[in-house]
Every structure is written in structure tokens, then in C-alpha cells.
Symmetry: C2
Subunit: 231 residues, 2 copies
DNA sequence: TACAAATAATAGCAAAACTATCATTTTTTA
DNA sequence: TAAAAAATGATAGTTTTGCTATTATTTGTA
């Protein structure tokens, strides 16, 4: 039996816990597929219901609206990334190596190592790249934040910023550098695939180039010798 | 008489040129006010029409839909920023100083130096921070890009990346660093005001902190001594 | 003055974004 | 195992959004 990862979600994100029923799990699973396919703007609860074989009202019993669903998926993703980071760097003693590993984990295409039956992590990763910012780039960001909807993002940022300080305690902007890493791991990948002239990776379209860019950025910012960081 | 800035826009962005008529200029002016006030998701052509004192159909004669309008505003903003950069750095011979100036121009609250009668640049700047990414984070990004809708963004990125190479011809990631600067000038400001724990500027809420962060990032990436950059 | 262009006024439609009701099925638990 | 509770399905209906079409009127211009 495989170890199953379970993420405890903020209860204010849903009306009925989608993880507690088959229909709920189906809503999560198929919404990821549908948002990935049609984009968040063209995604509706009606289309989702048809895909699942339930009714619109059925979906509304779980999520108040599609914005809450997106915030839910985003929160799940960041909690999952944080767990992944813990899992893959726990045994590393050198903070520089750990930070380099974090950059890979943020930038590289998701494998199938830590699976959840009803969530396709690889698709979710792609959704977050293209739609994740829309979870907080809204007028309600203040209210949503008060309800702790973005806690997983902030927690991840805190973990990375602590790691940054472990590498260089004198560095002045650990949190901003952490959020820059997270955002740029996503944006550079989006640009690489969709607006390539905004990046230097148009020719290769290779994740490892993004890793190299972010690694360079961090190493220089923290005065880490590149030789010290490679292994 | 003041020098009036005129930005030549991509004709595929509109149905009828909004700059050619009073109603069109009003659509631009009031849409900026309304999007700023209610956010892009809650913004509709009907509400805009009511605000202006025209009809919904009247607005539709100028813009196909609200997405095109947002792309128009985004394109206008980036063309304007590029002009501003040219204008304010033209007389500077030292590329490092120029680059530092660019960081300020990207990050700092917009003053009223280069004005256009029907566009409130300060409000537009705030809109771009919160809504700008939505112009390209869509399923149609490929089509929109083929129609050159994002040319002003790419041009700005090209200008900055050239400047980066002027400072350090050996630097490997000029375009990605340029797009990182542009995006982070916006995102760090959004975070500072709305999700402060993702930044190191929660206490001050001061633009100059963002400038300091980005300056540090760039100087270290390009091996520029901070003393060399300050003036 | 007449001609074209732009605008206003109005109507209407399809889809999206919900809410409500009630019957039926499934699950829980007393 | 029967009764209560919870979840689902089926259906219907409302308001708003997003968009198109038509016709009349105004405004600018040759």
C-alpha cells in the first residue's frame, strides 16, 4: 500500500468537503481536467456538471462559485509543494543544496512520485502556472486573505525565505526573493511556452534552463559560488 | 502648450479607434476609472455605458469585448513606459545608471509628468499591477500573440534586456531578467499592499524598498558594485 | 444643403451564475 | 433493522452578462 498524502484544507473554502464523497472527489478531478482544457474563463459549473454526469446544483452544493474552487485548487497545490519540499530535502544538511533542490521542485515538470487518487498533480501544476495568479489578483483579495485562503502560499514562502536566510543570514530580502522564485518558476515557464521572446529559453523549451536562470539569480543574490551549489 | 504623447495602437485591438472621437476617449477614460474601482471581473460594458451616459451597444462599437479593451490598455501602458524610459534616460551615458533609472520608473508610483488628457496614467499603472497579467494568462494567448497584441510588452523587454547586456555583455539571461524585473515591479507592489507577508516591505509600504530589492537583484546578477550604481 | 458618419434608443437572445424545491437514494446510527 | 439524516437527482426559475440587430436621430463635412 502506498502512502497517501492528505492535505487538510481550510473549511471556509467549500460548502461541503469535496474530499468526503465520491461526487466531491469527482468535482476536484474533473474540474482540473476541464480548467486545463478550456481555461478558467471558459470554465463553468454547468459544463463541469455535464462532464461529471451530475447537475449544476450538485456542484454548487460543494463550492460557492468557481473562484472559491480555484482558490481551493491553488491552496491545495501550494500545500502539496511545501510537503514535497519537506519530503525531498529532509535528509539534506547543506542549506545551499536544499535551496537548489527547491528551485528544481518549483520549476520542473511534475512527476508522479507523490500521488493523490483524485488529483492529477501534473495537470494541476499546469493550471497553477496559467491561472494561479487569478486566485489573488482580485478585488476580494483582502477578504480572502482575512479568511486565510492564501495560508499555504504564505507558508511555502516562509519555508523558502528561512532557507534563504540559512544560506546567507545577512540577506535583506528573503521573503521577496522567495515570492520572486515561486512566481518566476511559473511565469518564466508560461512565457517560454507562450511568449518566448520574454525569455532566453525559446530555442530549447527546457525546464532545466529555467532552473539555471533561477539558480544563478539566487546564488548571486546570496553570494553563493556556483561551484558550491553544483553537485 | 504641453507636448502631447500619442501612442500608435495596433488596429486589430479595436473596432473603431477610441482615440478618434469624444465617446471613444470617454470609453478609455471611464473604463480605467471603473476597472480600478470594481476590478476587471466585476467590470461590464453595461456599467461602463451607464457611467459614460451612452448605451451598451455604443461601447461595443469600439471594442469587441472587455478582454480586448484590457489588452488595449495593457499595450498602451507598456508603450507608454517604454517612451518614459527613453525620455528619462536618453541623456544618460552610463548604462548602469540607466538601468537603475529603469528600475525606479517601473516600480515607483506614477507622477503626472507625461500626461494624456483621456488617460489617467496613475490609475492605469494600478490597474496593470492588479489586472495586467490577465491580458495574457488566457487560452487565446497564442492567437493574441500572433496578432502582435503583446508587442509593446516585448519591445519594452527587449529594451531592458539590451540595457542589461550593455552593463554586462557576458550575462546569460538578459530577457528573462528583464521580464522578471517588469513582473516583480508589479507583483511585489501588489503583495506589499495586499499580501504583505510575501514581501519584506510590510512595515514601510514604501516603493523605494521595492526599488532597493530589485536593484540588489540586478546588481548582483550583473556583478555591478552597489557603490557603482548609487549616485 | 445634402451626404455620410456617428450615436441614441430600443429590443431581443443565449449563456452564465446562481437559488429553490421536492422526490429519491444512500448512509448512518439508535 | 427501522428510522432518521445526509446526499443526490431532477426540475424549474431568476438575474446578470455578453452580445447582435434595427431604426431613428444627431452631428460633422464636402
Amino acid at each position: 500500500m502506498k502512502t497517501q498524502l492528505h492535505v487538510k484544507m481550510n473549511e471556509a473554502l467549500y460548502l461541503r468537503n469535496p474530499e468526503s464523497t465520491i461526487l466531491g472527489k469527482n468535482i476536484l478531478k474533473q474540474s482540473i481536467i476541464l480548467i486545463h482544457k478550456s481555461g478558467f474563463e471558459n470554465f463553468t459549473f454547468k459544463k463541469l456538471a455535464e462532464l461529471i454526469g451530475t447537475t449544476e446544483a450538485g456542484v454548487y452544493r460543494y463550492f460557492e462559485n468557481k473562484h472559491k474552487l480555484l482558490v481551493y485548487l491553488t491552496a491545495w497545490y501550494f500545500a502539496w509543494i511545501e510537503f514535497k519540499i519537506m519530503f525531498h530535502t529532509n535528509n539534506m544538511s547543506n542549506p545551499v543544496f536544499r535551496l537548489m533542490r527547491v528551485i528544481s521542485l518549483l520549476s520542473e515538470t511534475v512527476g508522479d512520485d507523490l500521488q493523490t487518487e483524485y488529483i492529477d498533480e501534473s495537470l494541476l501544476h499546469q493550471i497553477i502556472i496559467a491561472e494561479g495568479s487569478k486566485a489573488y489578483l482580485t478585488k476580494q483579495v483582502g477578504d480572502d486573505n482575512k479568511q486565510q485562503f492564501f495560508k499555504p502560499y504564505k507558508d511555502l514562502c516562509a519555508v523558502i525565505s528561512k532557507l534563504i536566510l540559512d544560506c546567507n543570514p545577512a540577506y535583506k530580502y528573503p521573503k521577496s526573493l522567495a515570492s520572486t522564485l515561486i512566481e518566476m518558476a511559473h511565469f518564466q515557464k508560461f512565457f517560454m511556452n507562450n511568449l518566448p521572446s520574454l525569455t532566453d529559453f525559446s530555442a530549447t523549451k527546457n525546464d532545466s534552463d529555467i532552473v539555471a536562470f533561477l539558480t544563478d539569480l539566487v546564488c548571486r543574490s546570496l553570494s553563493i559560488k556556483n561551484s558550491e551549489a553544483s553537485f
